[in-house]
């Protein structure tokens, strides 16, 4: 019975990790402090009309930072034997991953919505449909990155190693995604470097939701990312090491 109540298992794992967050929602508010600062202290530098361009990028950046660090929450659970305990229950190994990622994605969507609403106070314009689409894309990206984050955390097991893996990968991904400034402003080599960064295409797609533009490359990128990310995550969680 490999799929023994996969949905129920996932829901239970989701509830277990969500409950402490609901009991202490302050952390969610702290989570939007950083994007709020970008919104208030960086956004105005872009001048009139900059909001439509900047806010979608900021949302992708939130997806990146919000879920890439998710793996940190797994490390105390590995150390205190929680993961081991759960792995001896008949609960599906896939649920152990997906339930956790689910929590991070729900929080990400809530935070992204709050940021979009806040951005509207500054002059960002979006219809309900655009917002829904924008949140959807952010959520799928969050699933991809969150799955990879948990898988890597499970493999490296040590905070300081995990932290250096993260900063070594997130910073270049973010800088080459054109979140803060258009990559087309730079020299040609830098622009081409950004073109091999799948995240840059996701940023473009997110922007095209709120502006005229094409989503094709971005959708392909995010589809590949989520497929690879979830497969990698599931494979790692299915393996014996925990």
């Amino acid at each position: 019975m490999p799929h023994r109540n996969l949905l129920r298992d996932t829901w239970l794992v989701f509830c277990r990790v969500m409950l402490p967050v609901l009991r202490n929602p302050v952390a969610v508010v702290f989570g939007i402090a950083q994007p709020l600062l970008y919104l208030g202290l960086f956004g105005p530098l872009l001048g009139e009309g900059g909001w439509q361009w900047f806010v979608p990028g900021l949302l992708v950046q939130m997806a990146l930072f919000g879920t890439a660090y998710a793996g940190f929450s797994l490390l105390p659970e590995v150390r205190t034997g929680v993961m081991e305990r759960l792995r001896v229950t008949p609960v599906s190994r896939v649920a152990l991953l997906v339930g956790r990622v689910g929590k991070d994605v729900v929080l990400l969507v809530v935070q992204s919505l709050l940021i979009m609403l806040a951005a509207m106070l500054f002059g960002f314009r979006a219809s309900a449909g655009q917002m829904l689409l924008g949140l959807g894309l952010v959520a799928v990206l969050g699933i991809a990155i969150g799955s990879v984050s948990y898988a890597i955390a499970l493999k490296v097991k040590l905070e300081y190693v995990f932290a250096s893996v993260l900063s070594a990968s997130i910073v270049p991904l973010m800088l080459l995604s054109g979140v803060l400034l258009p990559m087309s402003n730079g020299p040609e080599w830098l622009y081409w470097l950004s073109r091999i960064n799948p995240l840059a295409h996701v940023v473009d797609a997110e922007r095209s939701i709120f502006n005229p533009g094409t989503m094709t490359y971005g959708l392909v990128s995010v589809a590949v990312l989520v497929l690879v990310g979830v497969c990698y995550g599931v494979r790692t969680f299915n393996k014996e090491s925990a």
Partner: protein
């Protein structure tokens, strides 16, 4: 309840393969409380992790609680409880929530889970702590919570890995009472320990493991019996005279010590004989062999040294 044959695990490390467990056979009958004794690094936890589906064996087969370990790990998981060495309560969780989720992970419906949780809180003296954070519990309370989490689905077989490590003497004693109660209620218990007194107090039967292989097996008394006899210590001014009467007697000043079988029964006659030949004694002591003596006889090493060194 457990039938393992040739169970082995080899780890590949940078310095070459390490055989943590070298093909062990383990048989545990229903209702038994079996202690798995050995120094740190002997292969106890690796064996336990294999028996509980956490680690894939590199060789061997096992049937656990009626299910094939390799072909039906899910079946094994449904029928066993496992309490790991490290505990297992989430640091950001409340006691009641952890128990309820654990019950539901085993497939219990919500109301059944709640009922079972209340029952186990009561059984393990945790009632009133449901709303407390797991981190606020004392060591003894945390350990009882861990065991309660392993019992929510009424497993027929419970694995305990080093249950009393890091507990103060009172909490240990209390924990032991709870473990004995589990056995009295019909649960088969398989526990690892490197504490002799724990193994001695709890187990019906002991398996002794060293360097990844089982080196001895039997009830604590059986094993102690294999050490030839009890240690008798006599204090007397005529130590040399006494020493000449017994094989392998050791003289230390006014003290003579030697081993005789069933020392407690042999002692009265022995004292009479010594009296008859005019030996005056000023002290008499009989020491039953300890499991440490057993371990020393079987492995040539003291268990205490082993556990201190690791």
């Amino acid at each position: 309840m457990i039938e393992a044959r040739g169970l082995a695990r080899r780890f590949t490390t940078k310095t070459g393969p390490v055989d943590a467990v070298r093909g062990v056979d383990i048989d545990v009958a229903e209702g038994e409380l079996v202690g798995f004794l050995g120094p740190n690094g002997a292969g106890k936890s690796t064996t336990l992790r294999m028996l509980t589906t956490l680690l894939q064996p590199t060789a061997g087969t096992a049937t656990i609680a009626g299910h094939d370990l390799l072909k039906d790990p899910a079946g094994v998981r449904r029928n066993i409880g496992y309490v790991g060495q490290k505990g297992g309560g989430g640091l950001d969780q409340r006691v009641g929530d952890e128990l309820e989720f654990q019950a539901r992970f085993y497939g219990l419906a919500k109301h059944d889970a709640r009922r079972k949780v209340a029952d186990l809180l009561d059984r393990f003296d945790l009632t009133g702590l449901e709303k407390r954070g797991v981190v606020t519990l004392s060591g003894g309370q945390q350990r009882r919570l861990d065991i309660a989490m392993g019992m929510l689905h009424d497993p027929r077989l419970l694995f305990l890995d080093e249950p009393s490590t890091a507990l103060d003497p009172q909490s240990r004693r209390n924990l032991w009472d709870h473990i004995r109660q589990l056995k009295a209620d019909g649960t088969t218990v398989f526990l690892t320990t490197h504490y002799l007194d724990e193994a001695d107090f709890l187990s019906d039967r002991l398996l002794v493991i060293d360097h990844g292989a089982i080196v001895g097996e039997g009830s604590p008394d059986d094993l102690k019996h294999r050490v030839s006899g009890d240690l008798v210590e006599l204090g007397t001014a005529q130590a040399a005279v006494v020493a000449s009467k017994f094989e392998d007697a050791v003289v230390d000043g006014e003290k003579v010590s030697f081993r005789i079988p069933n020392g407690d029964r042999a002692l009265p006659g022995l004292l009479r004989d010594l009296d008859n030949i005019g030996v005056e004694l000023h002290s008499v002591q009989v020491h039953r062999p300890t499991l440490d003596d057993v371990f020393l006889t079987m492995t040539g090493r003291s268990l205490r040294e082993g556990s201190n060194a690791a």
